[in-house]
Amino acid sequence: MDSQKVDMYILTNGKYFESQHIGQVRDRLLALDESKWAMIQTLQLKDPQTALIISIFLGTYGIDRFFIGDTGMGVGKLLTCGGLGIWAIIDWFQIQGATRQKNFEKIQPFLY
């Protein structure tokens, strides 16, 4: 794919991925066929900042985990009062990384 397009994509969507994954995403995008561009561009990625805000206010109910698609962990948090509040606080620090990880997993099938 055209490197200008790829760099534009990385510029606008870099915040959705872990920094150590960005290089890999860029390399794979460059090697990708042009026909997949539309799919990549319209792929819905979750914003880590939104996840953090949800985590701070609704983390005890596991809504942050539901939001990023970690349904199993969401149910776990919901049914334990947010792990008696402890898990909810741990997730304030974990959720942004978890969101970026989920985004990376989401884009994987399109890159290969």
Binding site: T60, G72, G76, L79, C81, E105
Partner: protein, 138 residues
């Protein structure tokens, strides 16, 4: 941090273990009211019980053979105790038979829960339980 097998086993095993530790603490040292109220941050901050409030009291009642009291306190106690008893056995089974049945079951359950036909009844049941919780003033 990909949801590999190991992570799921750690998560579920840790959750079951923490449940046992908490239940033990509650049964040995916990008063009937104060400690259970302190446990839930929602209950402590707002005074309104959360959907899972009363699970400890329910599980404690169950472990003492008071099945009816457990059901009236919070039916989730049955679920919690079943989870706490089944998960260690399941993990041990997977460990000795070198299979990954628990991981597969977890992933299947998660995928199913994301589908609206399962998510909606689940959410509505929990919501009903929550409203019941608030009326019972757990």
């Amino acid at each position: 941090m990909r949801q590999s097998g190991k992570r799921i086993y750690l998560l579920l095993g840790g959750l079951a273990l923490a449940g046992h530790a908490w239940l033990l603490y509650y049964l040995v040292w916990g008063g009937p009211e104060e400690s259970s109220l302190l446990a839930c941050p929602t209950r402590r901050l707002t005074g309104i019980p959360c959907p899972a409030c009363g699970t400890t009291r329910s599980a404690a009642a169950l472990s003492q053979g008071q099945f009816e009291l457990a059901l009236w306190t919070n039916p989730l106690g049955y679920l919690a105790l079943a989870f706490m008893l089944a998960i260690p056995i399941w993990i041990a089974y997977d460990f000795f038979s070198k299979s990954e049945s628990l991981k597969n079951a977890y992933q299947q359950a998660e995928a199913k829960l994301k589908r609206p036909e399962f998510a909606w009844p689940f959410a509505l049941l929990l919501l009903a339980n929550w409203i019941w919780n608030i009326f019972k003033l757990l």
